[in-house]
Point group: C2
Chain length 561, copies 2
């Protein structure tokens, strides 16, 4: 009997799960909500692009969750013994870089910078660096187009160098004080294993490849010359970053005595190199070639793998294609939607906050479920937070069309769900256009679990059966699986990911199959969605929209007939 721990650092909280490696069941789980800011995020009312986090919250969260989860495991299984925890895996949000000093200590821990938001962790959804992202993209297009070929032809404001360059430009004091910048997913394993010193950290292939243009083809990180053109200081920083990266089957180190004591675990047990939540979530959902894993939360990540020894085209608009970023031996392909749950949250929390509809997701979903496809005459674009895949454009916004004097909240709520489904289909189509077959779709994340209406709409819109990962905590489970693989068979765990996944992953019994009648209507609606998508999303589209409102009304009339 062996157990591993998965630590899953999300946008608002960190979760710890204790997993039985024999069957993947979760014996204990605990959540720590970050204390600083608004639901764990430091925001700026004058600049909606800003989103930071306090690294101290990350560290507090370790002890708070691990001890509680261990205690729970003991309650659930009498013969549970913390000594049988044989490995730890970590996943985090990303790109969430933290400026650190020579010792790897976050600058925000110093008196000098503790009040400065630029010294905190720059959360994945911080978009303050959008101008810098555009500049990086422009320079790469001219001088190193290959850098962009693997990351959707556009470097995002959410990514590593955009953020660092923005800091350099707007707060040089912080930039100058930082010895280097460390991804959150590298920082946590380093803390646990006492390897925070930058030269000792084993950087995550996942983070480096997807967010920092790291690729063996051009010798690792982007050339110093390239970074220097953006700013000479950025070029200098390259020397203080890294040249090697590691997949999650690598041991970042052994748990320090200090942490072992504090947590009640065995010192020296292996901690896996970190990866992003979506990537380990895909692992925890049983990702394999042909299986698309959709992690649906505030945003989505759409994950696929493709054998690394086979030819793979560069797919425009896909966030990244990185060898080993999800599973060793496979290209990890990452796409995603910038906002899904966040759009529904926006509608419920900001626009529709009370009154006769009660303003809850549940009440709106119940009413929306009574509507037929096309019946509202509405159509929306799911771009309230920009478009990640396939347009890779942060400077796009939401659109709602077709409202009359009778349009009701539940109609808008439903059409926002449909818009995210159309966005999901656009991603699947893009993969398949470039030869990456999607033969199975496995969903995970809270919304997939809780909202059967959304799952049915996704099935109807995509024309594919929607399956749901058995674990409610696929990311944490994926981290625990990484912990199991670094522990290895000699510790009672596994030597390979396929072995670990076969034992520890599964699918729920309830799946959602497409309904032909709905599919036909959604096919027509998707054509209109795509017209809007191209008209507003492509620079040189000359889409004819003069009949679009009437086409929607025709669909509406038919649906109501």
């Amino acid at each position: 009997m062996a157990y591993t721990i998965g630590l899953d650092y999300g946008t608002n909280s960190v979760r710890c799960v204790i997993v039985d490696v024999a069957e993947g069941s979760e014996l204990g789980t605990a959540v720590y909500e970050y204390e600083t800011g608004d639901a764990g995020i430091i925001i700026d009312s004058a600049d909606h692009n800003l989103a930071r986090q306090n690294p101290a919250d990350y560290i507090k969260g370790i002890e708070a969750t691990v001890k509680k989860a261990l205690a729970q495991a003991k309650k659930i299984r009498k013969n549970f013994n913390a000594a049988k925890v044989v490995g730890i895996g970590v996943d985090t949000t990303g790109s969430t870089p933290i400026p650190v000093d020579k010792n790897g200590t976050p600058l925000s821990f110093s008196d000098q910078f503790k009040e400065n938001p630029n010294a905190l962790a720059w959360l994945w959804k911080d978009h303050t660096g959008h101008a810098e992202a555009a500049q990086i993209t422009e320079l790469a297009k001219k001088q190193h187009p290959e850098y962009l070929d693997k990351c959707g032809s556009t470097y995002s404001s959410e990514w590593f160098f955009s953020k660092i360059l923005h800091c350099l430009r707007t707060d040089p004091k912080v930039f100058d004080a930082a010895y280097t910048w460390v991804e959150c997913c590298d920082y946590i394993p380093a803390v646990l294993t006492g390897t925070e010193k930058p030269e000792r950290i084993k950087p995550s292939r996942c983070a480096a490849g997807h967010k920092a243009m790291f690729n063996a083809d051009w010798g690792g990180l982007p050339a110093k010359d390239f970074l220097s053109k953006l700013d000479p200081k950025l070029g200098e920083l390259r020397d203080r970053l890294y040249s090697e990266t590691y997949t999650v089957q690598t041991k970042a180190g052994g748990l320090t005595d200090e942490w072992a004591k504090k947590l009640g675990l065995t010192a020296g047990i292996p901690v896996a190199v970190g990866a992003f939540d979506a990537h380990l979530g895909a692992v925890g959902s049983g990702i394999a070639p042909g299986k698309l894993v959709k992690i649906i939360g505030t945003s989505t990540c759409d994950m696929l793998v493709s054998p690394a020894d086979q030819q793979l085209a560069d797919i425009p608009g896909i966030c990244g294609i990185v060898d080993g970023s999800i599973l060793p031996g496979f290209f990890g392909l990452e796409a995603g939607q910038s906002a899904v749950g966040d759009i529904f949250n926006w509608f419920v929390n900001y626009i529709q906050p009370g009154g006769p509809y009660e303003g809850s997701h549940e009440a709106l979903t119940e009413k929306a479920a009574n509507l037929k496809p096309g019946q509202s005459g509405l159509l929306a674009l799911d771009w309230n937070n920009g478009n990640r895949t396939i347009l890779v454009d942060q400077r796009l916004t939401g659109l709602l069309l077709g409202q009359t004097l009778h349009t009701k909240p539940e109609e808008i709520y439903r059409v926002l769900i449909e818009a995210t489904a159309f966005g999901a289909l656009t991603i699947i189509n893009r993969f398949e256009e470039y030869g990456v077959k999607v033969s199975e779709v496995i969903n995970c994340g809270g919304i997939a679990e809780k909202n059967p209406l959304l799952m049915q709409i996704y099935a109807d819109v995509t024309g594919r059966e929607m399956k749901i990962s058995r674990s409610a905590q696929s990311c944490a489970l994926g981290a625990a699986i990484a912990g199991a693989v670094v522990a290895g068979a000699q510790s009672g765990a596994y030597d390979t990911f396929p072995d670990a996944q076969a034992a520890m992953c599964g699918i729920k019994d309830k799946t959602f199959k497409p309904m032909a009648k709905n599919q036909e209507i959604y096919r027509r609606l998707y054509k209109l969605y795509k017209q809007l998508h191209d008209a507003f999303g492509l620079k040189d589209s000359s889409a004819k929209l003069g009949d679009l409102m009437k086409a929607l009304l025709n669909i509406k009339d038919r649906a109501n007939a």
Copy 2:
């Protein structure tokens, strides 16, 4: 000392005012809310196009309001004497045709039809006849394009023949039982003067010209041959309609003994021929050449006059150009927006019904007033109820664009106001493009009175000073002015409209002047509005929208800088 009565039949209620003709002051006023239906409107949850009214409510409203208003006048002015009421004027919504029998009695008063909504008054905003409207437009384009030249090149579903033809097609029993159809504004004066018999009614030039294609140039109503092609029975109906029409300076008849007794007025006092609320509202607001009167309510009517002895181009998209429809001796020009207040009501009542924002117009307006132009990054089209001027297209719908995850209700509320302002500017521009100068803008209606934010936005968007009619009841005042002109100078009133208007109309002291800083931003936003307007509103537009969201974000960034 002489007084007149104005009876103003609105969408939800009828209002009576007792006016002192010397200065236009209102001594007594009373309102009767129609009893039948939802706020006076019979609707059909399965067909949002349907909107009917019960003519019995119209009649009940006469006694209910006149007696109450007279009583109030007596309280306010001790020497007031109902015997000094020298004339009555009437305005109503329109086109609101009522099917009647040979005696002019509404079919809905009969046992046979009392439960049938098709036998009721077909309220102006009933759009069930949209297919028939399209057919009438199509046939006229082929055979009598001149019919459309005076009414914006499209015959609307809101108008007389669209409704009658739809009744003929869908409920032939009602159509066959109707001897003829009478406009509400013809029906009320007929009731008061005992001239309900169709051959005795003096039909309103205003209603006939704007809604029934009546024009002296082609001998009155559309040719029998034309109507017969739509349906032979419609051709036959023409013989039972009318061949002469009258302006509001004509006496419809004298008040009957019965009504005089019932109301406490003098028998035989003149009742003016009726007109639509907007037209008499323009009169009550002091309309004259160059003075645009905007009547802002659930929708708007935008009224201008142009001397009938001068050349005037046909103006595409304008609802109507009719000699004498507003003032005798002038072409009356009518344009309008299908929804203004209704859009704000929709947002407050349907979408944003409670919670922290309290969901009231007042609360949202207060918050919206703190925002700067362009600051929200939002843009909307004001088409939730279609577009009357300049597109004349009922099958257009609303659009909201630019929303993020932070967009707040008050931002949407403000941008909906701005959208209606852009719609208003589009109308002004259209008039001026065709040589009708707009040198002054006078607003009336509840929203103009109550919402200084809206007035300021209209001033900033149109670049024109916004003035507000002194009377809070411009339509009823206009009706009372018509009552004064039919009474004439010999009764202590006036012989001409200019004389009556000079004495009885006025402007409020508080006006709204455009602010240069806001104008500049709105000029940029209007360009984007016009791009959307043309892209979605014109059949063959190939507007490039690929940069529109970014242009809005640039305006937003500047506004927030």
